[in-house]
């Protein structure tokens, strides 16, 4: 039982990271109908910004955190203007290719500026974790889980109970109709990119003390987050969260009870099973309605 609890905690922790990045995927997909393959690089860039502010410049952690998120908001806006906006009237394929190109550009830019050395970023807390009976709770994972819960609540409130959230939803559901109703579609898409970049950045900053800060950190997480969005149902916010958590738990238990080397295999086995038997994902009906 101790083993199960320890694995469950770890699975939820790592799953929450996937969920945060998956959320960024979903929001952009809903707004633009394209997959942003640079979502993982948003996480990596934010983690490096934290290293620059908090480690290199020695600024307070909270200030570095806010500045890194502000930097990500700016990057999200630039990304929208430079990558999505010029191609907005083209089919989804050129846009997807452009996001892949942008992800390579971001990764190599950071490599050129900062070099290949992985960096250490300390966590928020002095104490690395707490021992609760037989289970060790890593404080950083606790923070990640807490932030994910807060974001789930915030997203629900934002999209369902604020005018801006409803405008964003209207834009994602039918751009022409939203435009006829006086909603500025381009502004809504800009806000979506900014919010997604901040979300991706938040995931990167939170996971950096656990996985270290490296050029590859974004792509590794993004691959799993992408799988999580498909499992949850592409385009569904709740699906991204559930998909991410499910993926984290499945791969952790799969590794412990079946095979460690094939840990990643379990995640993608589940992905393939969903693509074959339930391609619309767990929350597929809503996507079908939307289509």
């Amino acid at each position: 039982m101790d083993l199960v609890l320890q694995l469950l905690f770890t699975g939820i922790g790592i799953g929450a990271v996937y969920a945060l990045v998956a959320l960024g995927f979903v929001l952009i997909f809903r707004a633009t109908n394209v997959v942003n393959f640079a979502q993982g690089e948003f996480s990596m860039v934010a983690a490096y910004l934290m290293v620059v502010f908090a480690v290199d410049l020695g600024w307070p952690y909270w200030l570095s955190f806010l500045l890194a998120l502000a930097g990500m908001a700016l990057l999200g806006a630039i990304f929208n203007l430079g990558v999505y906006y010029p191609l907005r009237h083209r089919s989804f394929l050129p846009v997807i290719i452009a996001t892949i190109g942008a992800s390579i550009l971001m990764a190599n830019s950071v490599l050129a500026i900062y070099g290949p050395q992985p960096q250490v970023l300390e966590g928020w807390f002095e104490t690395p974790g707490i021992q609760l009976g037989p289970v060790y709770l890593d404080s950083q994972y606790l923070l990640i889980i807490a932030v994910t819960i807060v974001l789930v609540i915030f997203n629900y409130w934002f999209f369902e109970h604020t005018m801006l959230g409803k405008k964003l939803q209207a834009t994602s559901q039918d751009k022409e109709m939203a435009s006829l109703l006086g909603i500025s579609v381009s502004t809504m898409i800009m806000i979506t990119f900014i919010y997604s970049a901040v979300l991706g950045g938040l995931a990167g900053i939170l996971v950096a003390p656990v996985l270290f800060v490296s050029i590859q950190m974004g792509s590794t997480i993004a691959l799993k987050a992408f799988a999580a969005t498909i499992i949850g149902g592409f385009g569904d916010v709740a699906g991204a969260i559930i998909g991410g958590l499910a993926l984290g738990i499945i791969e952790t238990f799969g590794a412990a009870y079946i095979s460690v080397p094939y840990k990643d295999g379990f995640a993608f086995l589940v992905l393939v099973a969903f693509l074959v038997f339930r391609p619309q994902g767990i929350f597929g009906e809503r996507v079908a309605e939307k289509a």
């Binding site: 790592i14 290949p116 992985p118 060790y136 890593d138 996985l211 270290f212 460690v260 840990k263 990643d264």
Partner: protein, 381 residues
């Protein structure tokens, strides 16, 4: 002025032949070129930088001493992207340059396996750092190793853990790539010969984000000592922290990556007290000390095996070409294989007919972040 048909034909012939003549003349006058496949991008880009540092340091020393065959030596670098397809592409780009006389391949066994068929096809000497023992035993006469292979590291880890630390219940954790699998097997085999077969033999996939299942397996096995073969320092960092957090504090004797500069920095206190077998240990010889000093003077931080083996590879290859008196691949091969008692940063080189230059390992210990030399164990076989 009208051209005759003969003059026109001569003009065309001269025009066509000119680039070849000029290239040939240029080649005669140019430098001696050595190709280097190295990760500039990808997960091992950091180690790639250390490798380049070591090679460039040796190059500067060789050129300062008069170069090779009276010419300056030039390094031609290609990014292997830390992947198998990447190194195959990088090597093919370098191999296409006919004036490159020798190459530095990878420190990663899996990448050396990937490029080995092309090396055999090309028929020119390639220096490698991969430690999978089979690399120099697969009928490829063009691979020359500048690190001791893992049949030695496995024996040293087992011997040190069993006979010096007095531990009998071993858990082995290894990467499932070519290096990790071969290392894990070598350690298991050495332990069996000592009458202490491992109680756990656990593989993991590179670039894992979480090692909780591996740590729990070690904990449940009841092992009193841990032997590891990790490929990437990031993985060691995450594993070491989780190992200590989940309360596993048994002695740990690992392959060289456990005492590498990057691992020591990333894992911090989680690796304090860890033992490692290291091909490069600064205090192990006068040549190692000299390399350590030169490296620190040039780059302001301590070297490790990532730069040690490339330093030696350039030094030994240059000496071998001088000794051969020619850039003929066969003659260079013979000269490398006849290299004996050559003092290198990684140890004393005595090449055997398989292409293995080193036959022993140092045991070192992480003393609160400083890597301290313990002893050297050399083998005759």
């Amino acid at each position: 002025m009208r051209l005759t048909r003969r003059e026109f034909a001569a003009g065309i012939a001269a025009g066509v032949a000119a680039p070849y003549v000029l290239r040939s003349a240029n080649a005669q006058a140019a430098t001696i070129k050595i190709g280097m496949c190295v990760p500039v991008t990808g997960p091992a880009a950091e180690q790639g930088l250390w490798a380049q540092n070591g090679a460039k340091l040796a190059l500067a020393a060789v050129n300062k001493a008069g170069g090779v065959l009276g010419k300056q030596v030039e390094l031609v670098i290609e990014d292997d992207q830390t992947t198998n397809p990447g190194i195959v592409l990088a090597f093919s780009k370098l191999a296409a340059q006919s004036d490159i006389v020798g190459f530095l391949g990878s420190i990663r066994s899996t990448q050396v396996h990937a490029m080995a068929p092309d090396v055999l096809k090309l028929g020119k000497p390639v220096m490698i750092g991969g430690t999978d023992p089979t690399l120099t035993h697969m009928n490829n006469p063009w691979l020359f190793r500048y690190r001791p292979n893992d049949s030695y590291s496995g024996r040293v880890i087992a011997d040190f853990g069993v006979n010096t630390l007095g531990k009998k219940k071993w858990a082995i954790v290894h990467s499932t790539d070519a290096f990790g699998t071969a290392g894990g097997k070598a350690l298991a085999s050495a332990l069996e010969k000592l009458g202490t077969p491992p109680v756990l033999d656990q593989g993991y996939a590179n670039q894992s984000q979480d090692f909780t299942p591996v740590v729990l397996a070690v904990k449940q096995s009841g092992a009193d000592v841990l032997g590891t073969y990790f490929t990437f320092e990031n993985d060691i960092g995450i594993f070491a922290r989780q190992l200590r957090q989940l309360g596993v504090n048994i002695p740990w004797v690992g392959s060289p990556s456990v005492v590498a500069v990057s691992s020591t920095k990333l894992a911090g206190p989680a690796l304090y007290g860890t033992y490692g077998v290291a091909d490069y240990a600064e205090e192990s010889s006068e040549a190692s000390k000299a390399f350590g000093k030169a490296y620190r003077d040039a780059y302001k931080f301590a070297p490790d095996n990532q730069s040690g083996w490339t330093y030696d590879a350039i030094t030994v290859l240059s000496a071998a070409i001088n000794k051969a008196g020619s850039t003929d691949p066969g003659k260079i091969r013979e000269a490398i294989l006849s290299t004996k008692k050559f003092p290198g940063a990684e140890g004393e080189y005595n090449f055997d007919q398989n292409g293995d230059g080193l036959h022993g390992y140092n045991v070192v210990r992480n003393e609160k972040g400083t890597i301290v030399y313990d002893k050297h164990i050399e083998f005759d076989d």
